[in-house]
């Protein structure tokens, strides 16, 4: 079956000569539908850059990215944004919620942008907030929520257009141990529901929510641990 996400010879370099940084260096990756992949490495290993390339938020210097079978890296900015909106949900370390919108409004926003009728968007948003355990916080502003709750709102927002792929960049990086456990539990549940996940993180506990864990160093994949028979 066609992988949801495919990267071939992906490269992203910064600087030149002695100051050359190979942030991403010849990365190959296939992610099958329903597969959960953890990419683990120390900060500065290039994992965030990689995630941005995979989601079309940044352009590679070489190689290609295919999302749902379509080249992402050669599209215009607008066309890439359109493809992304339909196919990818993003979760970031710093949540990136709109402070002046309530939890529900934050979650429904991407659906409204995608042209979903307001009532449908609202129904979906409320259902997803319920799903992430925040049904009773729908009317709260992000400032009134804890870090863990904000990240769960961000996960609900990432899911509102029901994307075939969820990309998460260090989703537990800003959270204390207990809140991180809640978010990891949510990812494990999403995996069990058959969501396709790619999570880059320095937190090895992602292994509990992954079908395989890839170790990344200096821009390259150095090793892989297969954890389930799903791969």
């Amino acid at each position: 079956m066609e992988p949801v996400l495919r990267a071939r010879g992906l490269r992203r370099h910064y600087g030149a000569d002695a100051a050359l940084v190979r942030a991403v260096d010849d990365v190959h990756l296939d992610v099958a539908r329903g597969e959960a992949v953890g990419i683990v490495g120390p900060s500065g290993c290039g994992k965030s850059t990689l995630l941005h390339l995979l989601g079309g938020l940044d352009r590679p210097d070489g190689g290609e990215v295919l999302l749902g079978g379509r080249r992402l890296d050669t599209l215009s900015e607008t066309a890439a944004a359109r493809l992304r909106r339909g196919l990818v949900g993003f979760v970031f370390q710093a949540f990136h919620l709109m402070d002046e919108l309530t939890a529900r409004e934050n979650v429904e926003l991407p659906a409204l942008l995608a042209g979903v009728p307001p009532r449908t968007a609202r129904r979906r948003a409320l259902g997803l907030l319920e799903r992430v355990g925040l049904g009773d916080r729908a009317g709260h502003l992000p400032g009134e929520l804890s870090g863990g709750q904000r990240q769960r709102v961000a996960v609900a927002r990432a899911l509102v257009n029901d994307p075939p792929l969820l990309l998460a960049d260090e989703p537990t990086g800003n959270l204390d141990t207990a809140a991180a456990t809640g978010v990891l539990r949510l990812f494990a549940e999403l995996r069990a529901e058959g969501r396709t996940l790619v999570v880059v993180t320095h937190d090895p506990r992602i292994a509990g929510a992954a079908d395989r864990v890839i170790a990344m160093r200096d821009g390259a994949f150095v090793d892989q641990t297969v954890l389930t028979g799903r791969v």
Partner: protein, 171 residues
């Protein structure tokens, strides 16, 4: 195991079945490897050592059973055990020496050994983390599993340091 049983008996006398049930509840999935006989073997040893005494209690509808209680010597040992700060775990010196020996002999690539070890620990961590996530929030068994997960995380971080070191020595 012996010390834990003594500590469990310090509150009140109990029979073997009770003690085993309390251990199972505290350990959760970690206790799955404990076999039923271990508790009874340990209790017999403690009795022989004079740390517990057993009284046979008759039951009308079932066979008699033994209720165990601490002796003064047993009580003393519990107090010593609770304040003892020794920690069974040390740095994995054996693995470290394995890498040193592999590099010296040329029989194996230390970096490849580190990779293999990382896969093994990642699998163990995944297993412990999955078990922790299926425990109810705030349960004692989840707390124990969290400890296992955090220690494996620390070991994985140390393996990263090993990899950096041996990659440098190789080049």
């Amino acid at each position: 195991m012996q010390d834990v049983l003594l500590a469990l008996l310090s509150k009140e006398p109990a029979h073997g079945y009770d003690l085993r049930a309390r251990l199972t509840a505290a350990l959760g999935p970690v206790g799955d490897t404990m076999n039923a006989g271990q508790v009874y073997v340990s209790l017999r040893r403690l009795e022989k050592a004079g740390l517990v005494e057993a009284h046979v209690v008759g039951q009308s509808d079932r066979p008699d059973r033994k209720v165990y209680d601490l002796t003064p010597a047993g009580r003393e040992r519990v107090a010593t055990w609770l304040t003892d700060a020794s920690w069974e775990r040390t740095a994995p010196a054996e693995f470290h020496l394995k890498l040193v020996a592999a590099a010296a002999s040329g029989l194996a690539d230390p970096v490849a050994l580190v990779d293999a070890q990382r896969r093994e620990l990642t699998r163990r961590l995944a297993e412990a983390q999955r078990a922790a996530l299926t425990e109810p929030d705030g349960s004692r068994a989840a707390l124990l599993l969290e400890g296992a997960v955090l220690r494996l995380g620390a070991d994985l971080a140390w393996l990263d340091a090993c990899e950096t070191h041996w990659t440098r020595e190789n080049s």
